[in-house]
Symmetry: C2
């Protein structure tokens, strides 16, 4: 279980892909085939990385789509875990 608040994948994307290449949001969005607004939303944590976006990133940056999607899953899971105690769930098997 993750203990610390993980950064949203968009932040990682900016630091690991855009900045090293000196890419502007506009230029990167154009290359990815999405609108500037869509990429901006991802970069600023307003939107998550969808499976389609993960594939776009894997093509453009020659990376693993799974890794982007897993980062997204871990990020969402961490936030969901913060409300774990609010869920009324009965254990069906012994812990």
């Amino acid at each position: 279980m993750l203990m610390h608040n993980p950064p949203h994948p968009g932040e990682v994307l900016r630091e690991l892909c855009l900045e090293p290449l000196g890419l502007s949001v506009t230029a990167a969005a154009e290359a990815l085939g999405v609108s500037r607004k869509t990429l901006s939303a991802v970069l600023n944590g307003k939107a998550g990385i969808s499976p389609e976006m993960a594939i776009r990133l894997s093509i453009a940056f020659d990376t693993s789509a799974e890794s982007w999607l897993n980062q997204q899953s871990q990020y969402e899971l961490w936030h969901a875990e913060q409300h774990r105690n609010e869920l009324k769930v009965k254990k069906l098997v012994a812990a």
Copy 2:
């Protein structure tokens, strides 16, 4: 990269958790704290496993929330991969 069409996580959930325990959809939904329809949709592939649902499953069946979420990611990714050639993406780094 997955080569074969993976089953939707709901199918796995039914076979690995409900059936072994002889649980009905109604009983399982009640234990999970969701409606019958919500669980039914997941079991029949009409809905995916959300982070919240993954945590519910992890509590009820003493399993790993990550594993459920990863299954869901892999499932969505496989389907997105089927349309990879439709994406107009420019490579920004050498393959």
